[in-house]
Amino acid sequence: MSNEVLSVKNVYASYGDFLVLKNVSLEVREGEIVLILGANGAGKTTLLKTISGLLRPVKGQIYFLNRRIDGLSPHEIVKMGISYVPAERALFPLMSVMENLEMGAYIARARKEKEERLQFIFQLFPVLKERRDQLAGTLSGGEQQMLAIARALMASPKLLMLDEPSFGLAPKLLPKLFKAIKQINLEGTAVLMVEQNVRQTLNIADRAYVLENGSIVLEGPCDKIRDDPLIKRAYLGI
């Protein structure tokens, strides 16, 4: 398919001798929000880490905009247009909000668009504008999550990967967060996300993959996935 942004083909990945991903294939197409579901330890984070270059696959290929990226370093993959927000956020705690955002625009292509991106981000997360001079380490959990997403957006990615963006957030913040993700997507960024809030994310996502023990056991459009008996029982509690 020509409108594929990301294409993961038969990827195996391991931590030492322990094989975590087994023959995983998946695609993200232009303009899509794609969801990865699965229990703890199913390999969801490992999959995002492998795509971002933090982990090298043992076997298989990963293509981004028809260019092969497996084997590249994380900083090279960022330059190509994939930004990854890990669950631990990986912010710079002793730098201000503004400095964190500036570093998000470190790559040459993003430096030129810095001002426009800042405008977009401050409109998306106004609280970051209020806290621009505060050290990132002193922000609340929710603010840190917004900053982590905002920092990733500063690189003007074509694909944004989010690992558990709702983790540690107050429930009342969730609709806001998912609305922001939808807005980012409407701006033309494809999104690949791992999320525990299955019910709410199925509403904003286009398609979903279900990982079990490192393999994909189910995939399809969200309305189909929602009606699958397995999903109903395991994730939606119906």
Binding site: S73, H75, V85, F92, L94, M103, Y106, A152
Partner: protein
């Protein structure tokens, strides 16, 4: 000697210590390698300067050339010898870094001591003492202090204001985060190692303005550098600067009143007291 003059001597020596400590701090902060060969860069740089001066090259130009070369030596050293260290993680990396740099330091040290046993580096400034209000100040001391302070300010501006400087701080704060912003930690580690070597070399040149550098002093400089970095909080650049100045002052007063051998004891006691009182370093947690 008046206390004010002693204080000026102490601050000058302290700023030189800061130059050494900052290098150790940055190299450790970025790559978890404790560079036990740091003091050898001090000696190598002064010997290089002496070689140029001996061939009739202008003194200032000789010093500049030796600083450039010590930076290149730093790059070669990091690229050739530390890459196996950086392949490891955590404790293994720290230990391998210690073995690698300690081995190298011993090798360089014995080579230098045997090859250049009589080398003495000191720079004479052709001005006589300045007397202001009863204080007699040596221009060489003032010059050493001014250059060291300028170098440290320039480093601070570089780390605070430039994109590369900020990227260096991000690697020290969260390496994964830095990579995910498009920063390449490996090339910054090389850069900072070279910068550390240049600052060590500059420390040696400036030490030559206030005293004499000999080939045997490498291990002493390494010890000073590590001790200053530890008292500064290991990962804090500003901490290393402040702790260098404090310890320099302690050193000046104790060696004046108690003599050279006892002054080292007092110096180390001061370090222990700082570490006990402020385990996070003189400035606390701030980077």
């Amino acid at each position: 000697m008046l206390p004010v003059e002693l204080l000026l001597d102490g601050i000058t020596f302290g700023l030189i210590l800061s130059l050494l400590g900052v290098g150790i701090t940055l190299i450790f902060g970025l790559g978890e390698v404790l560079n036990l060969a740091h003091g050898e860069f001090v000696v190598i740089c002064t010997i290089l300067a002496l070689m140029f001066i001996g061939r009739g090259v202008d003194v200032t130009l000789s010093i500049v050339l030796s600083l450039v070369i010590i930076g290149l030596i730093g790059i070669a050293f990091e690229r050739l010898l530390l890459f196996p260290v950086y392949r490891e993680k955590g404790e293994v990396r720290v230990l391998m870094g210690i073995f690698m740099t300690y081995g190298l330091s011993l090798a360089i040290h014995s080579y230098l001591v045997n090859t250049f046993p009589k080398v003495h580096f000191s720079v004479r400034v052709p001005y006589t003492e300045i007397v202001i209000g009863g204080l007699s100040i040596r221009p060489s001391t003032l010059l050493a202090a001014a250059i060291a302070a300028l170098a440290l300010i320039a480093l601070g501006v570089f780390l605070k204001k430039t994109y590369i400087g900020k990227a260096i701080r991000t690697v020290a704060q969260n390496e994964v985060g830095a990579q995910l912003c498009g920063v390449n930690p490996a090339s910054l580690r090389t850069l900072i190692f070279a910068l550390g070597a240049v600052m060590a070399g500059l420390a040696g040149i400036l030490y030559g303005l206030i005293a004499t550098v000999t080939a045997t002093l490498g291990l002493d400089f390494t010890t000073f550098a590590i001790v200053v970095a530890i008292a500064g909080g290991v990962r804090s650049v500003y901490g290393a600067i402040v702790s260098g100045i404090i310890l320099g002052i302690v050193h000046a007063f104790s060696s004046f009143f108690l003599g050279a051998s006892l002054s080292l004891v007092i110096f180390l006691i001061a370090v222990i007291l700082i570490v006990l009182a402020r385990p996070e370093g003189v400035l606390g947690e701030k980077g």
